[in-house]
Symmetry: C2
Subunit: 204 residues, 2 copies
């Protein structure tokens, strides 16, 4: 029968995903065994196959979940930020700043998922890889359209919008390699530092 509320399997599934996420991020997909994941959850390896058909699907599901969440979160926030009664040029800058801060905040809150989404692409099957790449491109397009709008309005100046998009995202992703919460800088300060550099790098 279909599971109803309160079944303990409703908690085991997420626990497996959480354990796999942490272990994949720490040691890498190929270096983590199903037995390690099972042991982290407190279960035997065979039990995992009630929740995933195989190891590869588990990886894909984690990556797809992350990318979907990322896209949904940005779209929710972006639609909120539209039409704040500014002029078009001001609105582009506001959206660019919002994107910068959103990207940093969202990614710093999910270091493990981000790590996996960028490092384990080569461990995906061909079709799974294509699916993840499509989601990534969708996200990049969000930034790219902002940059294009800015160029059209003359408030931004980039040599090549596609490359500028990738360059800005690469720069923002760099924050993941060094930021640790409780360190020298607050999240707000980090956001502002990067926003300053992003703004200047694409400004007219």
């Amino acid at each position: 029968m279909a599971r109803t509320q309160g079944s303990h399997s409703d908690i085991t599934g997420p626990r497996i995903r959480a354990a796999a996420l942490q272990l994949f991020a720490q040691h890498g997909y190929a270096a983590v065994s199903m037995r390690q994941i099972a042991s982290a959850v407190g279960v035997q390896a065979g039990a995992l196959y009630n929740y995933t058909p195989d190891k590869q699907s588990l990886l894909f599901s984690l990556m797809e979940g992350h990318m979907t969440e990322l896209l949904a979160a940005w779209r929710a926030q972006d639609s909120d930020n539209r039409g704040d009664g500014q002029d078009a040029a001001g609105q582009v800058m506001a959206r660019l700043e919002a994107f910068t801060r959103f990207h940093i905040r969202f990614h710093l809150e999910r270091p493990d998922a981000v790590f996996i989404a960028y490092m384990e692409l080569r461990n995906l099957s061909e079709e799974n890889f294509v699916a993840i790449e499509a989601l990534r491109r969708e996200y990049e397009d969000a930034l790219q359209s902002i940059l294009r709008d800015g160029v059209r309005l003359g408030v931004l100046n980039v040599p090549d919008p596609k490359i500028a998009t990738l360059a800005v995202i690469a720069m923002l992703n760099g924050v993941m390699t060094w930021y640790r919460s409780g360190g020298r800088l607050s999240l707000e300060e980090v956001e502002s530092i990067y926003w300053d550099m992003v703004r200047k790098s694409v400004q007219a």
Copy 2:
């Protein structure tokens, strides 16, 4: 007795390293077996142990070799570029441009080694990790000192030199994720596009 010229082992060693580099970059260290490497060289797995004490040392040797080469290449070029008879401010900008172009060129010529050096850090033993990180920091310090000089002279303005260093390097590293030789843009064009963005992002 020590090997003398012409021993075929003088060619087998490099061939093993080249095969390991390519396979590690493509599939990841953990996913590549000693038998795969041996097979790519045309030899049995046991023979590899005449050239490396174990798999881990092979990985470390590749990473250390790459980082050492990177540092040596930059130092050679940087010392050439000093004292071109410009004023101090102009010299800082020249060095920053040289660093930007050097970084892109050097890394695009060695995509496999770069990939490994950034992705396989977690597969290093503790002591090997520390050694590689020290080399990386040395390289980052090269850029950081340029930025500091620029700030001191008032020609650059960055909120935080350490973070700006990491941000610029992250941005430049992003080129590896999309550039393919023979594509839409020449190496020279790519260098110029990134130099434009780097210059603006740190300018006063």
